[in-house]
């Protein structure tokens, strides 16, 4: 087993000792099982090492050293489904470059280790990829806590890290870093796009249903501020611990509170379970529901009746824009037989982020991190190129990609099976920008950022 294939976590004791005493061995059994259960969510945290192998044969073959990219996507835990999709997006972009001969004449080699939707694992994986696998860039995150953890390690080494799909406003706010670039719309962008209209159309009394971690808190905070600024009232905020599967007590409480609007900042498997239980109670018909952002893998396969309310997204596979059909066809050709038959926003972000990073590296003519960072900062990306309605740009102050925000709801007249979203409107990134992030983000100076050439 090579280094890159070794599991990072030991959820069961490694040493198995014999014992003469039955009671002692039973005690060990219980202790061991307790350890195993407590150990980071049991077998759901299986480290996935990917089929790639990082080795040093290039040194002997006379070929150019490959450019190693560390994919820090979740393969288990709450965001396993989204992690898998953004990984496909990144791999597609890498494949396209490798088909053209790589970057700067160097083949790109991707390694993936499961970050388990766990911040501590994210730190460990990032440290390992940088120091042992010699990763030049790190790409991938859905969970804001994981992203923040990875970015701290990346900044320590000066390694460029792309936060592809984590959308807490803090990511490009107080937790921003010179080496981190955030590619998803954040909670404030989505709230800016949705809330005003919802107050007008649905009412002033709101309840916030908030996933109890950084993304949930910061997103709900942004929603609260916009609701209150527009004359609405937050009746109550209910915190939802991560990995909540039973929402019955929350739904009873909501019925007692009788709000006009329920604004959820709940993601991953939690939102899937919530949606199913809301539909069972037909509560989607009793009050208006807004989900700040609805990631495609979290809603795909749930069935049309479970897609209720209004939600934000950054991309949809049936946008009537040039290039979208080809983009979808390329996904289907490259990844045939996937359970998710068409790409969504998470894949799109993973692809666009990776492609832009590799383009910047090409344009910089070097892998020097500072040179690539400078290419990324302020970068303009045309709407046509990104398959969206408005031009996008990488904010040089916050390192967040400012892009089109779409409002969507369930499509009651689908053109085909997977046509489950109806896009209601699209917001120009200029109109929904997170202005607070600009004040909160203090990027490290170039001098304070370690420089390297991979």
């Amino acid at each position: 087993m090579s280094d890159s294939e070794k599991p990072l976590t030991a959820t069961v004791p490694q040493k198995v000792a014999s014992t003469d005493s039955v009671s002692s061995s039973r005690r060990k059994l219980l202790k061991g099982s307790g350890l195993a259960l407590a150990g980071a969510g049991l077998y759901g945290v299986t480290p996935f090492m990917g089929p790639w192998k990082h080795n040093h044969l290039w040194a002997q073959s006379g070929q150019k050293k490959p450019l190693v990219i560390g994919l820090t996507m979740d393969a288990s835990g709450q965001y396993a489904a989204s992690g898998a999709m953004e990984r496909l997006g990144a791999m597609m972009a890498i494949k396209e470059f490798n088909d053209k001969g790589g970057v700067l004449g160097r083949r790109i080699e991707a390694i993936h280790i499961d970050t388990e939707t766990t911040p501590a694992t994210g730190s460990r994986v990032a440290e390992r990829m940088i120091t042992r696998n010699e990763a030049t860039f790190l790409i991938g995150a859905v969970h804001s806590g994981v992203s923040n953890a990875i970015s701290q390690v990346a900044q320590k080494y000066g390694t460029i890290f792309l936060n592809t799909n984590s959308s807490s406003p803090t990511e490009a706010g107080k937790d921003c870093h010179r080496t981190k670039f955030v590619w998803d719309g954040n909670g404030t962008n989505f709230s800016n796009a949705i809330v005003k209209n919802a107050i007008k159309s649905s009412g002033r009394n709101w309840v916030l249903l908030t996933n109890d971690y950084v993304w949930g808190h910061t997103t709900s905070k942004a929603t609260r501020a916009i609701v209150e600024a527009n004359g609405g009232k937050i009746v109550e905020e209910l915190l939802v611990p991560q990995n909540t599967r039973d929402f019955s007590s929350y739904l009873l409480k909501l019925q007692q509170l009788k709000p006009n609007v329920v604004a959820t900042a709940v993601g991953g498997d939690d939102i899937k379970a919530l949606r199913q239980q809301v539909v069972q109670l037909k509560m989607n018909e009793r009050m208006a529901w807004i989900n700040n952002q609805q990631d495609w893998p979290d809603v795909y396969g749930l069935g049309p009746e479970a897609i209720f309310g209004v939600f934000g997204t950054t991309w949809y596979w049936r946008l009537e824009l040039p290039g979208v059909k080809e983009f979808v066809a390329a996904y289907q050709k490259q990844f045939p037989g996937m359970a998710i038959r068409v790409p969504g926003n998470v894949y799109h972000n993973g692809y666009m982020a990776t492609r832009e990073l590799l383009r910047c590296t090409e344009e910089a003519g070097t892998t020097n991190n500072i040179a690539v960072i400078k290419k990324l900062e302020g970068r303009k990306m045309s709407a046509l190129d990104r398959l969206q309605h408005f031009d996008a740009w990488m904010d040089p102050v916050t390192h967040q990609c400012q892009q089109t925000i779409y409002m969507a709801t369930y499509n009651d007249k689908p053109a085909e099976k997977d046509d489950i979203f109806k896009i209601l409107t699209q917001a120009d990134p200029k109109d929904v920008q997170d202005m607070a992030a600009q004040g909160a983000c203090k990027l490290e100076s170039y001098d304070a950022t370690p420089s390297y050439d991979a």
């Binding site: 219980l30 195993a36 759901g44 489904a81 019925q255 007692q256 069972q280």
Partner: protein, 309 residues
Amino acid sequence: MDFLSQLLPHLVNGVSLGLLFALIALGFMLIVGVMETINLAHGSLFALGMYFALFFVAPSLGWFPALQAWYMGLSIEVRYLVALILAPVFVGIFGMLLELCLRRTYGRDPLYGLLLTFGAALVIEEGIRVVWGSSEKQLALPQAISGAFLLGDLIYSKYRFFASGFAILMILLLWLFLQKTPYGAIIKAGAHDSEMVRALGINLSRLRLFVFGLGVALAAIAGVVMAPIWGIRPHVGVDAVVPAFLIIVLGGVGSLWGAVIAGLMVGMVVGLTGAYASEWSLMSMYLLFIAVVTFRSRGLFGKKSVLDV
């Protein structure tokens, strides 16, 4: 009065939730109690029950289109009933095969059994991914038990009441089986002193095979029942095995009523904190566990300390 009327729905919800937790823990309790094996594959087998149910409700029989058309022509009520019966049977048989593998670990350090079931959990979960894919699935339900009904000013889920009633039925059936049948007596005797059972001429291997199969079938039944509430995904088993473990230790290892009461306590605590201190709703079950085990290490109804099982 107003407070009480506000509280009452949450108490009812807590009981309902508790019954479902107890149902999830039953199979785990049986296997630990009789075989002293911590079955870490319990959650994956719970998930497998969900997927088998999915198969029996809406099978994909591409090679036999005529058979598929005939089967899908049956009413959803019939298909759901078939799923409720056959999914646990098939998963139970699978569990028996797993028990055959476990035999090599008997009499050895218990960690071997732990590792084997841990490995089995990984294999089952990945197997589910390979066969059914990793995306979310939904189980169709008969009309009679889906949807909601209005009671007072509040809406309740019909299915949740059905699931709670079903959990009560399963608990009673298991109790009757253990208390009133000769097989139950043998199982209890096996839990108490397996060597004596063997000395009396009872085939201990067969007993273990049967108990493991039954425990696994119960896990699958819980999976079928929980599928419409939690949703169906390959890693859903993790959500089941942790509370199941906690409940059997809290209730006392090997105690049926201990598991039921512990399940109800956990359900009540989770339900009430969900309503009044929502950020504590998951943590509350662990705090309850710590509080009880600190003062009563053998759990509520255990006959000996949890460390001396």
